[in-house]
């Protein structure tokens, strides 16, 4: 082990941060680029399922809240692309990898939003799960990622609350609204839990990431934390958890859950979810249709800078 690797290991050991100019193992860098770019893409693609209801938001208040929230996701994508750039990859390259399918994003966004309560469920469950993960990532070993997470967690603090507020409105509203709320919960419960990723015993990337302290808590630990926290929120709404086996277990001190349908999970990851094609096509279209604008901006910048010089 050379002195660089030793210095790196010491930093990790002492739970200090790795900074962009520090030496780092190539695998560490690769792992981070993969994770951070996937995280960035998730924020950006995540704008679409909520955007699906933005124009139909049913009050002026709901419109402003939802637009501000989706805008935040875009902002978080931007922070995260910047984090990844400190590792030596450009935003352009990352977008190309997204478009060719080389880079993934969180599978949850391949599910459709079919009624207004879905916007509540996305904020409450999907953002809730993401926040559980992101709170943990604030302690991640890569400095820029960690600092980005601190800011993102702070900004996201309203996201889950606005989602739950919609759920309350729907669950305590007319019978039709309550039905939509239950329907949304039924469809989003398992996909939200699977967002934490495969079980620890089946997770290829997890153990090395934990050694490097990129990941602080395991998939299963985070998932259990989320379940334990969320059950009383379902009960308060007077809705039914779609998992009949979700019961308090005195022995473990946690809620149990049924086995997950990992076949469905991998099927969606591998491109066959309800909206995979639509999400990518939407992103490509916005990007490609505006190529002429980016070219115009670049040409104008060149001309004006030439004048100044």
């Amino acid at each position: 082990m050379d002195k660089f690797e030793q210095a790196f290991n010491e930093l990790i050991e002492k739970e200090l941060k790795i900074e962009p100019r520090d030496w780092m193992p190539e695998k560490y860098r690769e792992h981070l680029i993969r994770q951070v770019s996937q995280h960035a893409h998730s924020e950006v693609i995540g704008m679409q399922p909520e955007g699906n209801w933005l124009l139909r938001a049913p009050s002026l208040r709901a419109k402003q809240v939802l637009l501000a929230k989706i805008q935040d996701e875009g902002g978080h994508g931007l922070y995260l692309y910047s984090v990844a750039e400190t590792l030596g990859i450009s935003r352009q390259e990352m977008i190309e990898q997204l478009h060719t399918g080389k880079a993934k994003y969180s599978s949850i966004f391949n599910y459709p939003t079919l009624n207004w309560a879905d916007i509540g469920a996305v904020g409450w469950l999907v953002d809730g799960a993401a926040i559980t993960n992101q709170v943990s990532l604030q302690k991640t070993s890569y400095g820029p990622y960690s600092r980005g997470m601190v800011r993102i967690c702070k900004e996201e603090s309203f996201h889950q609350r606005q989602g739950y507020e919609i759920m309350m409105q729907m669950a305590f509203g007319t019978p039709e609204q309550k039905e939509m709320a239950q329907d949304a919960l039924n469809r989003f419960w398992f996909p939200a839990l699977m967002m934490f990723g495969p079980h620890d015993k089946d997770s290829a990337h997890s153990s090395q990431a934990m050694k490097w302290k990129i990941k602080i808590e395991s998939n299963d630990q985070l998932r259990q934390k989320f379940i334990d926290h969320t059950i009383k929120q379902i009960e308060y709404l007077g809705l039914t958890c779609p998992d009949p086996n979700c019961k308090w277990n005195e022995e473990t001190g946690h809620y149990d859950h049924s086995p997950f349908n990992w076949d469905e999970f991998w099927n969606v990851v591998n491109g066959n979810g309800p909206c995979n094609q639509e999400r990518l096509d939407h992103h490509k279209k916005a990007h490609n249709d505006n190529k002429w604008v980016r070219e115009a901006a670049a040409a104008y910048a060149l001309k004006t800078e030439a004048q100044v010089a």
């Binding site: 609350r161 739950y164 309350m168 308060y236």
Partner: protein, 72 residues
């Protein structure tokens, strides 16, 4: 000119080190000449920043969530 410039930068880094990292907070420093910092013109500051003041929905306290469902 170049040497003077370099010396200013060097000096700036050392000054920053002496002032800002006394409690072990720092592992990196950036020094930029003040003339290279782009800032919002004073007479435009209100157009830049005031419109955010009434966007109260960006803060968690805007939403009424019962305590009994736990921290959110």
């Amino acid at each position: 000119m170049r040497a003077a410039f370099l010396d200013t930068i060097k000096n700036g880094l050392q000054n920053a080190r002496d002032l800002y990292t006394r409690r072990g907070e720092g592992r990196e420093l950036w020094v930029v000449e003040a003339s290279n910092i782009v800032t919002v013109p004073l007479d435009e500051a209100s157009a830049f920043f005031d419109p955010a003041d009434d966007k109260i929905y960006r803060h968690p306290t805007f939403y009424d969530i019962p305590d009994s469902v736990g921290h959110m």
